[in-house]
Symmetry: C2
Subunit: 549 residues, 2 copies
Amino acid sequence: MPSKLQNARLEYQPKIPKILESLATASVAPSGNDAVSKEIADIFPRTCHQPYLVIGVGAKRDHHPLRVGVVLSGGQAPGGHNVISGLFDALKTLNPKSTLMGFLGGPSGIVGDKTLEITHKLVDKYRNMGGFDMIGSGRTKIETDEQFSKAEAVMRKHELDGLVVVGGDDSNTNAALLAEYFLSKGCKTCVVGVPKTIDGDLKSDEIECSFGFDTAAKTYAATVGSMMRDALSAKKYYYFIKLMGRSASHLALECALQTHPNITLISEEVAADKKTLAAIVDDICDVVLRRADLGKDYGVIVIPEGLIEFIPEVKILIEELNAILSPSKDHAAAIEKIASRNDKMDYAARLLGEGSRKCFRSLPEDIQGQLLIGRDAHGNVQVSKIETERMLIDMVKSALKQRQELGTYKGKFDTQPHFCGYEGRSCMPSNFDSAYCYALGRVAALLLDAGATGYLCTVSRLVEPAEQWQGGGVPLTSLMNIEKRHGSDKPVIKKALVDLKGGAFGMLKQNRDKWALEDDYVDPGPLQYFGPEAIMDAPTMTLELEQKK
Amino acid sequence: MPSKLQNARLEYQPKIPKILESLATASVAPSGNDAVSKEIADIFPRTCHQPYLVIGVGAKRDHHPLRVGVVLSGGQAPGGHNVISGLFDALKTLNPKSTLMGFLGGPSGIVGDKTLEITHKLVDKYRNMGGFDMIGSGRTKIETDEQFSKAEAVMRKHELDGLVVVGGDDSNTNAALLAEYFLSKGCKTCVVGVPKTIDGDLKSDEIECSFGFDTAAKTYAATVGSMMRDALSAKKYYYFIKLMGRSASHLALECALQTHPNITLISEEVAADKKTLAAIVDDICDVVLRRADLGKDYGVIVIPEGLIEFIPEVKILIEELNAILSPSKDHAAAIEKIASRNDKMDYAARLLGEGSRKCFRSLPEDIQGQLLIGRDAHGNVQVSKIETERMLIDMVKSALKQRQELGTYKGKFDTQPHFCGYEGRSCMPSNFDSAYCYALGRVAALLLDAGATGYLCTVSRLVEPAEQWQGGGVPLTSLMNIEKRHGSDKPVIKKALVDLKGGAFGMLKQNRDKWALEDDYVDPGPLQYFGPEAIMDAPTMTLELEQKK
């Protein structure tokens, strides 16, 4: 049952860029090549030397009906349903006989041939809605020869002209491999990707941002802004707020720019400065002390979810633990059998190298436990399950106690942990993401109609009003490089981490001393779907600072 | 620095009820008496037989300048600043020579004579803003003879005609005592209260709801709705979402009505049914099993913050622990000295009666620890610090493991805890709370202008459009009864718990079997300040169901 706002959003027509309005006269033209490395060319002999594509205006022409499949891959991001509705509407406009089918539950739906025909009636239930529930999503990767061959068979069975892969870096790497594979087998299915991830780390010169980032950032910033106002009103808590974002700190940075927390940790900076955990804790204590001197025993600290993997010593510890606890060894089973938590930790500590043992022992007991218990099927520590916000609270508390005993700190330190996460990845997309995703869907239809394969769809000039946005395609191979994964060379799309020389981080760096002590808090408020354009349609500050040159 | 939305809200003029528009011609008339008990009459001889008051239209007349003080008391609630702006604007309209001063940091600002003059310039910085930071708040109670006498001296010093106390049940009890005290001392200061609390438990036949409830409920419902969409999309987690609300379950109930979770616990029902913790856990397991049979290993469970105090056996346990750990005994100090957490728990368990020992031992270790460690200055367990959502996750996990071993459960059970709390009490007020609070401020000015003391300000007919709302005053004594507190009889305003025979709970009861299994999820989306009136101005469902008869 839709809510009143959902009903209004179901009726909402996202803004359409001028260039994407009249599909019948849209042209897809090449626009320069990019050089790729020999290693990439070896893996993608058929798709590696393709030109960039730009959508323009051409002569009106007839379009053949297309049979297209779409798959949602990986974690939810607001706007996924709009990619599908944009794609659907465009395909039907180009030729009403075109069909769109969804693969259910992510890439496993491709391999397992689980499909759903996407109809007008179905699409109309999901316009501008959050979540990925129309066709579901999943994290299966198409990796083995058998999986590739099954995927090909399914494409042939459904006689698909095109496949749209909506996903992040890994999923789009997969899209590139599928495109190359289908070409090599003489299978007609063209593959194009759409850049999805709330983390904002699928980004390049051509891809200004991934979809979902805008909505998630605004959702989290609303919470951070409200908590600041609460901190300032009650004057009794430090809020330690962890923000979702698997690896890169874009979401933490964007929220910081929108709200001005007293402390914002940026994982990329921690790694660049080779900070120890103790040094991070010390930095936090220093701000707490300086604020206490001003009579302020409250504040807001923003922590990116991926932080601990960027702390060099913790990264090594996690790697050692992953090796020790690998299912191929007996240690995991042995630890499982030990009854007392302390004994479990002692057992693990003995197996670690000296540096890692010291690091492990410096962690709060709960966190030591989480490192040992929260492992995935491969024995790897599940970093997203480590409660970094609580870890830092415990460690800062201990460090402040020492300073209290030394007489250097006389303040009160009471805390509240908070995690901004799952609520930001399935909420209704902002007007920005609604329009961006709808446009991406239209671009996907045009690229497939032009017979393009191995491309990532782009919509650019995103800081301008939506009417002025441009569309195009970037060859997936141009985004790739080679990385060692599990001992062998693999082509991957490199995650775009926070650029420490970029405008967004620069803005934080320039202001953070001020924000640490003054309460220059900003409350962006909840995401608005109506009202003045400057409020309801504005892009993120990251985009403004990166793109407005 | 205000955000764009904050700037828009600073300029926003809340809707004003017709009856409160022209202050110069507003009349305050009596409207029937209420009988109070002898005990209340004994404590409030001067204020106990006052009539209800109704605001109407009278002849235009001149108004003397008034000197008024205002104090914010207790936890933040969205709209507090609008009470002040409504009061300020009304006082200045009645007579531009009137003055308003704020007492800083709550009631301690009264006793300590910490004040701030409220000016046009100041008020304009806080119109429709969240938080209580204009003058701060605090939890001090004015209780001792010395405090009362200091309060009187401060009133006399500032020659205050009126004092407005913005607070919950306890603060308004305090307001009643101050009104009576000032009268008994011949001090001219009239005292009126304003019903504030996001918990929604300050409610009676005359007070349709407390301010802040609307905004907090909508803020939490947005998160719950988004998480549902996420559950439905990822199909891999059960979200255990705890909602703020010290004691009553109104917020949990309202969010449930807005979003339709699979399970909603209502503390008042748990108490009425005398449910054990084990029975609650069993109930949850049953739903998880039935959903697993339908292939659904995901869902959303809403938990009111106050739950554990309503479980009879846990309530007894907490009372025993409070007694044992009282600072007047040595046990707390002894436990403090014990190094190992297990030994601490053993020590405490030995002191408990058999029933409570069993209950204590049935709790997850972390929760046992929280019960022992998170105590306030009086040795009382701080119930708000108990992480009920994590406790239930642990206990349901154990119970499901047993069922798995018995072969009755074959599903997967992965969980995410979440707490909706501090972000909902200091965010910008909804249009409803903006208008409601602004109107309450105007009513406060009119009551003080009429020389009323010992009243709670009311604005009623809240389910109608704001233009049709009515204003009035209810004698604080009519809301009071006698309760034992710390061994002696005290007058208190009784908390309005969820009425298990009321329309709001009835709606949940009628639908919950359906909501448990079907995914009838509703995503209300974030609070909107612009757009269609049905979206931006709508009252809560609780109000609709309770007031639309």
